[in-house]
């Protein structure tokens, strides 16, 4: 009863809300795969906070929790050779693109076996081998470089596609506007995905923008633009499909505003003191994983048993990753201190 009332309230205030249905062309297998990926992201992220509290992981850590449908929904259309650009909240993007949780965890532990050889940490997580171009600490700054990878595809006339993520906060970085304009001018094969969780740390989007429907910015630059329900993986998948096909066909960029709401704190220890959490609480009802699970159960796409197995497997993978990072990896050797500042082994002290 309370739940139904809450849902009605959500539908009223969350204008991007869309009912779930299985879009044309989306197989059951693909659904299960996406679901598993979402669960793996969730389990990974849930494991990090305790590690952070236990001082195993340090620095800034921003979880991708409840954003899973966005990254997974669009990245599931990508090939290995395609690229993604990320934000400061990059773990989910790594996993969705097919990255390795062991190496990611090792990096969070600052170990030499980590993706970044312990140099980067959470905020700079990257797996170039799967085309995940790296998280960034400068909000908004990774967009132009990612569009640069689309520029490569355009120059080379290849058909790979780049997807680039940024938040509602990051969207206000001018270089993103500049990048959108160039992508539109030259019809670059890129999809802009704005993860609009309506908050940038403690700043409500309403206080720092005049137009809260961010997809309209895309239109201003001549880019076909859509708003999707960011809690709804089916909606995300369907709109992304069009966008990726368009890009792959050389027809140019698309802008997708994936509207959502930040349900957790901004980072590991943020307790949301600055906002009214009573408004937020009810959205857990439509958080993307439970929502997809419920929908799949209702529509006989999945069984309870399968759901449990997926969860167990995810937990196992994450536990193994922690075990790996904690006990099987080593500190970067201090002798390697100058490595990678320059390339090809060149050392300039």
């Amino acid at each position: 009863m309370k739940k139904n009332k809450e849902l009605e309230a959500i539908k009223k205030e969350f204008t991007a809300y869309k009912e779930m249905y299985v879009p044309d062309g989306l197989t059951t297998e693909e659904q299960l795969k996406m679901y598993s990926t979402m669960v793996l992201i969730r389990k990974f992220e849930e494991s990090v906070k305790p590690l952070w509290m236990a001082n195993k992981v340090h620095g800034y850590y921003h979880p991708y929790i409840t954003l899973e449908a966005i990254g997974v929904g669009i990245i599931s259309h990508l090939r290995l050779a395609d690229y993604i650009g990320s934000t400061h909240r990059g773990h989910g993007h790594v996993i969705a693109k097919g990255g390795d949780v062991n190496r990611m965890m090792a990096e969070l532990f600052g170990k030499d076996e980590g993706y970044n050889r312990g140099r980067g940490g959470s905020m700079h997580i990257a797996d170039m081998s799967v085309g995940m171009l790296g998280a960034t600490g400068i909000v908004g700054a990774a967009v132009a470089p990612a569009v640069g990878s689309a520029l490569r595809s355009w120059i080379k006339r290849t058909d790979d596609v780049t997807v680039v993520f940024f938040g509602d906060g990051g969207a206000n970085a001018g270089s993103i506007s500049e990048s959108m304009n160039m992508a539109a001018a030259w019809k670059l094969p890129v999809v802009f995905v704005c993860e609009n969780n309506q908050w940038a740390i403690a700043t409500d989007i309403a206080r720092v923008t005049g137009e809260h429907d961010l997809y309209k910015r895309g239109i201003g630059f001549g880019i076909p633009s859509y708003q999707v329900d960011g809690f709804n993986i089916y909606d995300m998948w369907e709109t992304s499909k069009k966008a990726i096909e368009r890009a792959r066909a050389g027809e140019g960029p698309t802008f997708i505003e994936a509207k959502t709401l930040r349900l957790l704190g901004h980072h590991a220890t943020d307790d949301n003191w600055y906002r009214d959490m009573t408004v937020v609480e009810k959205y857990w009802q439509i958080e993307p994983i439970k929502r997809m699970a419920d929908f799949m159960l209702e529509n006989d796409i999945i069984t309870e048993e399968q759901l449990r197995k997926i969860e167990e497997e995810a937990i196992k993978k994450v536990e193994a990753a922690i075990e790996y990072a904690d006990t099987q990896c080593s500190e970067p050797s201090l002798d390697s201190f100058y490595d990678f500042v320059y390339t090809d082994g060149e050392i300039i002290e």
């Binding site: 340090h58 620095g59 800034y60 990096e107 600052g110 170990k111 970044n116 312990g118 140099r119 980067g120 940490g121 905020m123 700079h124 960034t136 600490g137 400068i138 909000v139 908004g140 700054a141 906060g169 990051g170 206000n172 970085a173 001018g174 940038a200 740390i201 403690a202 700043t203 206080r207 720092v208 923008t209 600055y274 500190e331 970067p332 201090l334 201190f337 100058y338 500042v341 300039i348 002290e349």
Partner: protein
């Protein structure tokens, strides 16, 4: 005298100036509702209203530009850049507008802006949240650059900076925020461009600033045990830079070590040594030593991070070199 943290001294300076002059205002990411990540502006929005303490979008280039423009028409903006690393985004209006306006327009306008930027290494926050880039701005005629390291200095100098009619960049080391010190109750200001002698000594002069002042203190204490007497000059202001105090000290010690946390290459340490040899080559009994961070981006791993920046031991070693 109250004992407060450096963090609080900044809050006090800003609160008093906001109250004193209605042209003063604050803008930056999360300076309002959140009161800045370090709590420095906490409560100020409530006290002075949303038009005096302004939460901005993540638009460093333009909100700094807005600050510069507001300054041109008579306001006294306090613009906060969350981390000095992000100054890169605001470089254009800092360098090409703020620094040049007074000159380029023949004195028709001033730009009394203060840009506050937390800087420096520490806490394993990696390459993009750890930078020391103060020498970029020392290299820009028209700017002033300050780096107060004690609560007392911070309060007095920040107030002077706010009242100064030229643009000032105030670098605040994140590791200094929790440092405590005495701050008098009433109004006071400290002029920009005067160094402070933190420790008197007679054998070797250490010229430094910001967090490295404290690391130098540690080194000096250690050396004292061996009977080596160190004079520590905390520059406090890098532009203008108080060479009178520096040279007076060298005239006494005839030996100098310049310490910065910035990566050594291209840093202000070279600049200072260059000036010292111009102004007093003959005073020197030993080659001036420079101590700075290694020339790499800052790593996430804390063991690697520790390798980057000057430690007490590095400073001691440099001092010993001047005594060889």
């Amino acid at each position: 005298m109250a004992i407060i943290t450096l963090r609080e001294s900044i809050t006090q300076a800003m609160r008093e100036e906001l109250a004193r002059d209605e042209n003063v205002f604050i803008m930056g990411c999360d300076v309002g509702l959140r009161g800045n990540p370090f709590g420095i502006t906490k409560g100020l929005m409530k006290e002075f209203g949303e038009r005096r303490v302004i939460d901005t979008p993540i638009s460093e280039a333009a909100f700094t530009g807005l600050g510069v423009g507001a300054a041109i028409v008579g306001m006294r903006p306090l613009v906060e850049i969350l981390y000095a690393d992000f100054l890169t985004l605001a470089m254009d209006n800092i360098v090409n507008t703020a620094a040049k306006t007074s000159y380029m327009f023949g004195g028709q306008a001033n730009v009394p802006i203060v840009i506050r930027a937390p800087f420096g290494v520490g806490g394993g926050v990696a390459a993009q949240h750890s930078q020391n880039n103060e020498n970029w701005f020392v290299h820009v005629p028209g700017l002033k650059v300050i780096t107060p390291s004690t609560p007392y200095d911070m309060k007095g100098m920040l107030k002077s900076a706010i009242r100064d009619n030229s643009p000032v960049i105030c670098f605040e080391h994140k590791r200094n925020y929790s440092i405590k010190g005495e701050v008098p109750e009433g109004e006071y200001t400290i002029p920009l461009g005067k160094a402070a002698i933190r420790r008197e000594g007679k054998d070797v002069t250490i010229v430094t600033y910001s967090y490295m002042t404290y690391v130098s203190e540690e080194a000096a204490k250690e050396l004292e045990k061996e009977g080596i007497s160190i004079e520590i000059i905390d520059l406090r202001s890098l532009l203008p830079l108080d060479y009178d105090t520096v040279m007076a000290s060298i005239a006494k010690t005839n030996r100098v070590v310049v310490v910065t946390e910035a990566p050594l290459r291209g840093s202000i340490a070279g600049e200072i040594v260059g000036e010292i040899v111009t102004r007093g080559f003959d005073l020197l009994d030993a080659p001036p030593q420079r101590v700075g961070s290694k020339n790499t981006p800052i790593p996430y791993n804390e063991n690697l991070e520790r390798l980057c920046t000057p430690k007490k031991e590095d400073i001691i070693a440099a001092v010993r070199k001047t005594l060889e």
